[in-house]
Symmetry: C2
Subunit: 215 residues, 2 copies
C-alpha cells in the first residue's frame, strides 16, 4: 500500500481496482448530496467520510485531495447527462419532427438532473485547472452530440441551410437554454411548468432555424 496508482486519472493508494471503483462510487454519492446542499467549500472532508460510511483516513486512501472528490462528482454527473442524452436521442430518432423531439428529450434530461447540472455551473471554478479543463471538455463533448444531431437533420433537408459555424452556435444555444431551466429555476419554475417551458422554447428554437439565413 505504498505505491501510487491511477484510476480514471485520479491517484489512489489502494491496489484493487474494483474496490477503488466501488468505494469511489460510495464517496461520490455521499459527496454530491452534501455539495448540493451546502456547496463544496462548506462541506468538510470529515462530513464526506462520515456520510460515505468510513473514516477520514480511509477517504484519503482513495484521493489525494478534496478537489479530487469534486472532480469525480462532476465527471459522474457529466457521464450521466451524456448517457441520458444519448439514450434520449435514439428514442427521438423516429418521430415526425425530429428536432422538436430532440429538444424535448434534452430539456427533460436537464429537468431531471437540474440540481446536478446546477452544481457543475456553481463549482467548476473550484477545481484545479487540470480538472477544470477535463470538465469543460466533457461539457463540449455533450454539446457536440447536439451539433451532430443538428448537422444530420440539416443535411437531410429538414432544416434550412446553415453553415457549420451557425449549426455549432445553435447547438450551444440549445444546450444553454436547457441549462437555463436549472440556473434560473428559482424564477422560471414559479412561472412556467416544465411542459410550458419546453413548448415555448421549442417554438423559439425552431423559429431560430427558420430565420438563420436571411438578411
Amino acid at each position: 500500500m505504498y505505491g501510487l496508482h491511477r484510476i480514471k486519472d485520479i491517484p489512489t493508494q489502494v491496489k484493487n481496482p474494483e474496490l477503488v471503483e466501488r468505494r469511489r462510487r460510495q464517496i461520490a454519492e455521499a459527496a454530491v448530496k452534501l455539495f448540493m446542499a451546502q456547496g463544496f467549500h462548506k462541506t468538510t472532508t470529515r462530513q464526506i467520510a462520515q456520510a460515505a460510511g468510513f473514516s477520514i483516513g480511509s477517504l484519503y486512501e482513495y484521493f489525494t485531495s478534496k478537489e479530487d472528490i469534486l472532480y469525480l462528482v462532476c465527471d459522474s454527473i457529466h457521464a450521466e447527462v451524456e448517457r441520458g442524452l444519448t439514450e434520449a436521442m435514439s428514442r427521438a430518432a423516429g418521430g415526425r419532427n425530429i428536432l422538436a423531439e430532440v429538444i424535448r428529450e434534452f430539456f427533460m434530461v436537464c429537468h431531471r438532473m437540474s440540481d446536478f447540472i446546477l452544481l457543475i455551473y456553481q463549482e467548476t471554478h473550484s477545481l484545479p485547472s487540470q480538472w477544470r479543463k477535463k470538465v469543460l471538455e466533457n461539457e463540449l463533448r455533450i454539446t457536440g452530440l447536439l451539433v451532430e444531431t443538428l448537422a444530420r437533420i440539416a443535411s437531410s433537408g429538414e432544416l434550412p441551410y446553415l453553415d457549420e459555424r451557425s449549426i455549432e452556435l445553435a447547438a450551444h444555444n440549445i444546450s444553454v437554454l436547457g441549462h437555463m431551466w436549472t440556473f434560473r429555476r428559482w424564477y422560471l419554475a414559479r412561472h412556467y411548468r416544465i411542459e410550458d417551458y419546453v413548448k415555448l422554447q421549442t417554438e423559439f428554437i425552431i423559429g431560430m432555424f427558420a430565420q438563420g439565413r436571411n438578411d
Copy 2:
C-alpha cells in the same frame, strides 16, 4: 463608535456615511479583482484589507462578515450592468431596427463586463440567503428592462404578436444568451469574434420572434 448603522442594508460601526461609501468603494474595487483572480473562498480578508490599503481591523468596521463584502461586490456589478444597459437602450432607441440595436448593445455590455458577470454566476451561491435573494432580484430587474423593451417594440407592431409570457421568456433568453458569452467564453472566444457572435445571435433571436406564433 459603538452603535450599529446600516448603509445600503449592510451594517457598519462607522458613523460618517460619506466615509462609509468611500471606503466601501475602495474595498469593493480591491475585492472584486481578488475574487475574479482567485475566487471568493480562496481570497482571505487579510488580502482584501491589504489590497484596499488598510488593516484587517478597519475592514471589519465597515462590514460584519466576509460575505457582506461579496454582496457589496455583486451589487456594484449589477448596478454597473444596469447603468450600462439603460444608457445603451436609450442610444438604441433611434435606430432603424430597434430590436437588433438593443440586442447588440446588451451583448456589448456583457462583453465589456464579461469577467464581472462571470463572477456573479460563480459566486452568487456563496452568499447567505438574505443577500442571495437580493442579488437575484437585481438580476430579475435587469431582465425586466429587456421585457419592457420587447413589449414596447411588440406593441408598436414591429414584432409579430406574442403573449406576455412569451415576451417574458424571450427576454430571459436574450439575457442568458448574452451571459453565455461570459460563461462559455473559454470556448466561444476561440471560435468567434464578438462581432460574429452578435451578428449570428441577432439573426437567431430575430428568427425566434418571427416564429413565435405558429404551430
